[in-house]
Point group: D2
Chain length 335, copies 4
């Protein structure tokens, strides 16, 4: 393997992916681009690679693929640009907040045949991988109910919320993807309830911060997702899958695997605080999977279609919560 | 304390309550009644008390209170009979499968002023009591989401199902009561989905075996319940309550608190198999609470109203699942 | 089964055994004796049985067996008395603090052929029973190392210490018995170290409060015991057995099986505080075993020989710690 | 920070340290040396650095420090060489298997004033770091007993055993260092027992495979270590420290943090198999600590003295087990 990858966007997640690329034997960070010059320069310097513009990267012969880590509202356009330039694309989720825009964008990708991977990092978390493997190995029989607990340690900056697409598109989207990943059958209908319990300013911004969602498939399999924008004890990320023969679960990751016992009881540290810690191994494995698929010419494990379907479930949940009714997926997918 | 209690119904749960009464200092098993004479005689012999008819017990001066452990379809009538006889009543849940009949029955109880306790045994489980205490002590702040996992080890006898009132009234009713107990606010609306995944004969009997339910209160608090009539690993009974300041959970009880480690991994025994084991301490504490309330003249901790409200939630869930819509509680409660 | 048992000694442990006897179908509390009349009367009244003297009990035709729960320095004499009276005996550990006295006493028991059970309650704890069963079922292969953690929540009354026989004879004796029970081979040598770390007054009383002990069998199997007279987090009682094919362990019992998560971490309640809580099920099972052996005429599961051997190990540990050397068991046993 | 480090020895642990150096911002792999040319070349190629001889490295101006990862019997000589060359040294444990040789070597180091770090990687494990921090923060009060469980998944190649120095010098040496690290007071005496239970060929090679050790300090603090060369369930590495106010423990690391529940019980995967997995983070942190001490001119956290003292405890344990007696440390240290 010898691959030169350009990273677009030198923010928090761009740095994570740049580090993963640099650490991969045979992969090379080819260039960094960012609208903010100082950010681009700092990241490029750290790994000894040049800063380039988007256009230069698209035209460069020595760039084999790109990782799009820019703000959400640029994703679709950049995907189309690089699809047309024939450069394989890793793009952070979501493709776009509009289902229509995602459809257009994926049509371009399909037309050009350019490989596209959408960054659903959790599928690459080693603990969740072990859950999926247990299911695939038949350890729990036929999947019947999936229960996903997903609670952020705290609200994002309130400035971000209006651009986030709302709780379901911004946060639950990962859980929707995981539910699809584990259910083994597409979701047929969605029921959701959502409230503002964490901070009343969330309501003023037209969003919610606490939600419960039920997904049902045609054969009656169910997934239940509970979300909150606050967990005082850290980043709560758990999965249970119940099947005809048993159950598999992935527990949380604590800051350290220690216990202090005293008259107050037995205390373990809080959970790893947020995604940069909790999913560090997942981010590395995700990029490794992208590089490996490129090298071997195998299909991407998380596709544009996965990005589309997770967004469609977010759309359905949003309507269900707003209108107090079950939303059947054909209404969203237009099938 | 010196109390003489008659047990009506010498089946499985009647035996449990008889034993609890006999083991309580100052309480005495006064009599046993059962339509099946041999069952009544065996239970009476075990504790050295007489067999009597219902009518004899109702008229007896030496019976201070009764425990109704007969089949469900006799509960309401017996409650009315003993309410009119002025004998305090402990009655197994449910009061009846019909909300209207429960209303009538409770009207009689209210009229007579006879104390009535409805047996929601889980409120007395020491682990769930610790959950409730943590909430009441403010350990997790304001409750926001309650997550209840309740999975039976296996289907009941299929003969029983048609008389059970269906999954929601027979099994989930305990979870509805627990949700009300922990939410600290009445439920405003119910969303449910239900399937037949365990055994297709359940469908032929007009019932379901797998369900997910979301309850929402007026202020936006949520409770999520997941149910299945099958858990290969034992009786899965867990509770999580999430609040503004933290989370409290009650974990499962294994057959023994041991672990065997080998090349196959670390294995703990399955869970205690079913309610007779899992809730043994709860049944004892429940009867102790009943006896204590009688002795001290304090209110019962689980009332006829609790029985009515849990059944109303079951009714709402049943409609929601059948009709694929959110059901608002005024529709059921007629408020 | 129909057995009438007299309880000698109406203190804390006498009450526990009296309750267990009264709760057993077919067993009956025949009489209570205690040098302190009020204690005897209170216990007798609670279960509706008479107070009698030791002599009356020994002579009584309607007493089938006795449970000796009196102070340690009376055990050997009472065992001899009731052995000669031909009444099967349950006796709390230890038989005596002097190995020679134990030998004499057991000689009388052997001569009379009277059944004797010595109360090593921990062998009857359901969790430790599960450990033993795992070993007996071959789940861990041949036993190689046994690790026993045994820490009291706090010092006993200092008044008691001089009569206790010292840490090894009073507290570790249970661990010695458990080590013998699990090792499957007699101990050949003992190494021990002991300190006063908890309270300097313990040193003034000629005792120790913190100890570590290694037991080795002829074939090289090892047992390690750690003891302290203080554990701020409750009564710490754990066992691990390592074998050629794996490991089995019994974990501690918390006050309730709940967890509170907050910014301070994940907290479980302290352990059950002391033996009356932790071993409640063991005490009941122990008496059940005694009654069952009497009824069925089967051998006692914990014998006078077990009492002797555990005391011999305590003697060896005591010498090892005092003299800073390994003590080989023939030195103690005089083999 | 800008540091050029040469790695001596391109075997398993040399590769780990080379990777850690290459991944550290500001650090650079300067050269690789190995008696086996192909091994040196492969490692050098992977990180784009030259292969050099020991002599070249000692003389090179562009090498700031060295990491000695060669076989044990070369350590002392290499340390002396580089100490005289004035190049700061990281050396894998042990310095040598002979206490006398270690003394000589450390005398050279002391004379030259060259910084030396000995690789006791476990002190850098994040979970054990959390244990130490809990102690240092006073969370458990004064340390009283330390319990270390250390069991390898399997025997090393039998060819290696004769060169290993024996179980105590090869394997327990890490546990001796950890005991010193946590006890907060030097060990005054050692008692050990050792057996061959895993494989009789170990006996033929003059070694043991199963051991239990008690360390005691002058004030009576105790440490207990249990070792085996076999654990079917993975690499068992646990620590407990008991203090006057409580206990802190570090649990094991499983292959993944998942559980499968079925009729057979609740099963978690085996433990991470051996040190390369279990201590991956520790190795990285260890090298980071070495680089950081060099950069900042601060003392090394694990010194030559630590290497000497751990070896002295191994010597004492060896004698204690062989001669069946307590060994007081002055006998070994010649104080």
């Amino acid at each position: 393997m010898s691959l030169s990858i350009a990273v677009l966007g030198a923010g928090r997640i761009g740095k994570v992916h740049a580090a993963a690329i640099a650490a991969t034997p045979g992969a090379r960070l080819a260039a960094v681009a960012d609208a903010m010059a100082p950010a681009a320069e700092a990241l490029a310097a750290a790994y000894g690679c040049p800063v380039r513009t988007i256009a230069e990267i698209a035209a460069a012969d020595d760039v084999d693929a790109v990782a799009i880590c820019t703000p959400t509202d640029t994703h679709a356009e950049l995907i189309e640009l690089f699809a047309r330039a024939g450069k394989p694309i890793f793009c952070e989720k979501p493709i776009d907040l509009s289902l229509d825009r995602v459809r257009q964008c994926l049509a371009v990708v399909a037309e050009t045949g350019t490989p596209l991977m959408v960054g659903f990092n959790r599928r690459f978390d080693p603990h969740f991988v072990a859950v999926k493997r247990a299911i695939d190995d038949g350890r729990i029989g036929a999947v019947e109910q999936v229960v996903i607990t997903s609670r952020d340690p705290g609200l994002p900056h309130l400035d971000y919320l209006p651009r986030s697409g709302g709780l379901f598109r911004d946060m639950t989207i990962h859980d929707f993807d995981m539910a699809r990943h584990l259910l083994g059958e597409e979701v047929a209908s969605v029921m959701a309830t959502a409230s503002v319990l964490v901070d009343p300013r969330v309501r003023e911004l037209g969003d919610v911060d606490t939600a419960s969602i039920i997904l049902t498939t045609a054969s009656g399999r169910q997934a239940v997702i509970t979300n909150s924008r606050r967990a005082t004890y850290g980043y709560d990320q758990r999965i249970e899958a119940h099947g005809s023969d048993g159950m598999v679960s992935a527990e949380n990751q604590h800051e350290a695997n220690v216990t202090i016992a005293s008259a107050a009881g037995y205390t373990r540290p809080p959970l790893q605080n947020f995604f940069m810690d909790r999913y560090a191994a997942a981010y590395a494995a995700e990029i490794a999977s992208f590089l490996s698929a490129l090298t071997n010419g195998t299909p991407m494990l998380t596709t544009g279609h996965d990005g589309y379907m997770a967004l469609a479930l977010a759309e359905a949940a949003s309507r269900s919560a707003a209108e107090g009714r079950r939303v059947d997926m054909p209404e969203i997918l237009g099938d």
